[in-house]
């Protein structure tokens, strides 16, 4: 187990270095530079030149990269060119909010998606199954942007039950979590349903029923548990994606998370901010994947072997 973790951690180093190089190169070849955002619409050439020199933007490419990578190695992500705030402070402020949103969305998606899927599978082709199938179709097809605006109009403007946007007390979390999780709810319901249907037809379920177990025990303890593998995969993938920035949801709901931060940094060519946050998010993504792999072992003894090497 420890060995497995260690090996995975070592393997992720080249991945992260690759991310660093690619992001650096992308921003280097992209037209525009941070000084344009620092000086505003009207500027004088001398100020632009001075700022370029101070940011070392005119240094040769390898020198710039070495300077930057050097900082990373000492644990210093640097300061934003544009705001002059430490990148680490910026991330520390925003990532917990993204985590909160992604966590709530995943919780909602897991509870609702798995329940709907399981219920639908228990009674295939019932009215509940049909309605669930149709709704999840819509849930997968509608863009989050549209769902978000619809939720705002209905719950915030018409009913006035919930705040339209912003960050704060728990009620601020409901609409963005619902919007962000909508696709996962739908997808998880469908994945759970099909996995359950497959498992419910398996021999060991028939055996369990033959043993005289209650239907509840059959469904929850035997069938659901065996149907969980694909469900966990979906949860892991979606959670990783949400954590690394749900830009649209954060924008529609004025949620001050890391997604908006990265987008703003890119549009202003704020190299240290982009690099720092992308690097950080890559680490998060790698870790979520690792956690997903470990979870497989918990659910399925057959998968445990792989993590014990």
């Amino acid at each position: 187990m420890t060995l497995f973790l260690l090996r995975r951690a070592l393997l992720s180093i080249p991945t992260l270095f690759g991310v660093l190089v690619v992001v650096f190169m992308l921003l280097y070849v992209a037209p525009g530079d941070p000084v344009q955002a620092m000086v505003g619409e009207r500027a004088d050439a001398a100020t632009i030149e001075r700022l370029r020199a101070e940011l070392r933007l005119d240094d040769p490419l390898p020198t710039q990269f070495a300077h930057y990578a050097g900082g990373i190695l000492t644990g210093d992500l640097g300061r934003s060119y544009i705001t002059n705030r430490p990148i680490l402070t910026d991330i520390a402020e925003r990532f917990p909010r993204t985590l909160q949103l992604a966590g709530a969305a995943m919780l909602l998606a897991t509870v609702l998606g798995v329940s709907i899927g399981a219920l639908a599978a228990v009674r295939p082709h019932s009215w509940f199954d049909r309605v669930a199938l149709a709704t999840t179709y819509l849930g997968i097809s509608f863009p989050v942007y549209w769902i978000g605006l619809l939720l705002i109009l209905f719950f915030a403007v018409t009913l006035r039950w919930l705040p339209a946007s912003g960050y704060g007390r728990p009620e601020f979390l409901v609409l963005p979590a619902l919007a962000l999780g909508s696709r996962s709810i739908a997808y998880l319901a469908r994945v759970t349903r099909s996995a359950m249907l497959e498992v419910l037809g398996a021999d060991f379920v028939r055996t369990a029923r033959a043993k005289g177990l209650t239907e509840r025990a059959v469904v929850v303890r035997h069938a659901l548990r065996n149907a969980l593998m694909p469900v966990v995969t979906v949860i892991g993938l979606d959670f990783g994606a949400y954590l690394t920035g749900s830009i649209l949801t954060e924008t529609i709901f004025s949620w001050p998370g890391i997604g908006r931060y990265v987008v703003m940094a890119i549009s202003r060519r704020d190299l240290p901010a982009v690099q720092g946050s992308v690097l950080f998010l890559s680490v998060v993504f790698v870790m979520v994947n690792l956690l997903t792999d470990l979870t497989y072992g918990r659910i399925d003894p057959r998968a445990r072997k792989a993590t014990e090497v």
């Binding site: 525009g32 006035r160 009620e171 239907e215 929850v220 001050p256």
Partner: protein, 529 residues
């Protein structure tokens, strides 16, 4: 009850409880908000986090606004765009127009209680100019003797003396009648003695509002400065929320949770045509020009006839009506109607595709020309660019559209790599000079704002004379001549002057539309029923 139906019922109830929780948990938030509305004004105009509350780095609109709440300059702007005394009570100008003597208010205190003194003016200006400050906007102080040298890191004496605690004497390199207006810009704000590295997070000024909290990407909360010399604001708290999505801001306004809303262009009609929405609208001509920069140094555009053909080929009135819902006036020059120097008699180039083709043929391009039109990627610029492409195609001017984000577009335009670029210009200070000089003067080619690289000695002379002219009437005449000359020479193709449009909740009293970005400081606004 069969086992199967038991489990289904059980699951169904879990499901129902979850849904119920989601719907009911939010509770009754409205109740406490109702009462707080009286004391807090919520502004929704900022769509991104201010860059910095350090005036030296306040180069964007959200920062500029916030700096206006927290700080004062020697002068300031009213919402209508008049310059008025702020930390300076009054000022005198020497007969040669070179020496400005500012008489300062003598009992103003900073938010931390320190008394404002003449030395603060000197320190603040020195700080802005010093290279290590890494200021983004330093040019407002360049008219001062020695300012350019100081900004270049040279140890040059600055033309600024403080004979006593309440007097500042500033010497300029040449007469400049608009100088007091430059001092109302965010960069020229007056700072206290100690300006640490975290000054942007903990700013101390003399302004009508003190910073309470800045939640990045979320909101800025200000409390009124009860000791404000210009009269304390009438309500306790000003909340500048950062709402990146315009549709969300509209929803917040309709839910009654924000008090001031900027109306996005595409929603203009829907607000104007709905009775209850229209009741909340306020609008005023802004000091904002939409135009097409024409690089006069590139290929066929060197020929004035080709540039005139561009102007003839665009149906600006229809464009304004269709694209901006008529929210503005068609421009026949760069000086907006509300400023001295505007010429109401000047008529725009008539929309005449045939005339455009004729001009092209005369210039030696009977088969038309191929050009690139650059625009930013954010709404409504791509649509404007596409419409222009269609208009110009009819006159045999074939456009290739290039869309980039604002940073890349600006860099390319400044470097002279664009043929045509469609953009806007939002005044830094209310004066015709702020349009003519940066957009078209030889001294400002490239980074200074003249992305047309327009260079015309007669025009430069007129603008230079106007800048030096102390008499307002004569200055306006010079501005008019300069504007007319550049218009005929098509230094750029002015399209329209934009109207600012806001929706304001009925309980907000005394709101005046700011024609300049830092013109509204909420000191004359109150909150009623």
């Amino acid at each position: 009850m069969t086992p199967a139906s038991y489990s289904t019922t059980r699951m169904r109830s879990i499901f129902a409880v979850t849904i119920a929780f989601l719907l009911v948990a939010p509770g009754c938030r409205r109740a406490d908000d109702r009462s707080s509305v009286r004391h807090t004004l919520v502004d929704s105009r900022d769509w991104y986090d201010p860059r910095s509350l350090d005036p030296a780095k306040a180069t964007d609109v959200p920062s500029g606004r916030a700096v206006g709440y927290l700080f004062d300059g020697l002068t300031r702007f009213t919402p209508a765009g008049e310059v008025e005394p702020a930390l300076a009570r009054s000022w005198d100008v020497s007969p040669d127009g070179l020496r400005y003597t500012f008489h300062l208010r003598d009992s103003v205190t900073f938010h931390d209680g320190t008394l404002f003194r003449a030395k603060h003016v000197s320190q603040s200006f020195q700080r802005l100019l010093r290279p290590e400050t890494q200021a983004g906007t330093v040019w407002p102080l360049f008219p001062i003797v020695g300012a350019r040298a100081t900004a270049a890191g040279k140890d040059a004496p600055l033309g600024l003396e403080t004979p006593d605690d309440t007097t500042v004497v500033i010497t300029l390199t040449e007469p400049l009648a608009i100088f007091p207006k430059l001092l109302a810009m965010p960069a020229a704000a007056i700072l206290p003695d100690h300006v640490g590295v975290d000054f942007s997070e903990k700013p101390i000024g003399t302004g009508p509002w003190k910073l309470v909290q800045w939640k990045h990407d979320d909101y800025l909360k200000f409390a009124r400065n009860t000791a404000y010399y210009g009269g304390a604001p009438a309500f306790d708290t000003l909340l500048a929320r950062i709402i990146p999505e315009p549709s969300t801001a509209v929803a917040e306004f309709e839910a009654g949770t924000v008090d001031v809303l900027y109306i996005p262009e595409e929603q203009t009609r829907s607000w104007e045509n709905t009775d209850e929405r229209r009741a909340n609208l306020v609008s005023a001509p802004a000091l904002r020009l939409w135009y097409m920069g024409v690089n006069t140094t590139r290929g066929p555009l060197k020929d004035v006839r080709v540039r005139q053909a561009l102007a003839h080929a665009i149906d600006a009135p229809t464009l304004l009506a269709q694209l901006l819902a008529g929210r503005g006036t068609v421009a026949a020059g760069v000086v907006p109607p509300s400023l001295d120097g505007f010429d109401a008699a000047r008529k725009p180039f008539p929309y005449d595709t045939l005339a455009a083709r004729r001009l092209l043929a005369e210039a030696g391009y009977p088969n038309g020309v191929d050009l690139e039109l650059w625009s930013s990627q954010t709404s409504p610029w791509p649509r404007l660019a596409q419409t222009l492409q269609a208009y110009l195609a009819a006159a045999n001017i074939r456009l290739k559209l290039v869309q980039r984000d604002a940073s890349a577009m600006r860099a390319a335009a400044r470097a002279g790599q664009t043929d045509l670029v469609v953009k806007d210009w939002y005044a830094d200070y209310p004066d015709a000079e702020n349009f003519l000089y940066p957009l078209l003067h030889t001294a400002n080619k490239g980074a200074g704002g003249n992305v047309s690289f327009f260079s015309n000695p007669a025009f430069d002379r007129l603008v230079d004379d106007a800048r030096r002219e102390a008499d307002g009437q004569r200055r306006a005449t010079l501005y008019r001549s300069a504007d007319s000359l550049a218009y005929q020479q098509v230094g750029l193709v002015p399209l329209f002057f934009y109207n600012e449009m806001y929706a304001v909740q009925p309980w907000v009293k005394g709101f005046e539309v700011p024609v300049i970005f830092n013109g509204q400081r909420w000191t004359k606004v109150s909150l009623g029923q």
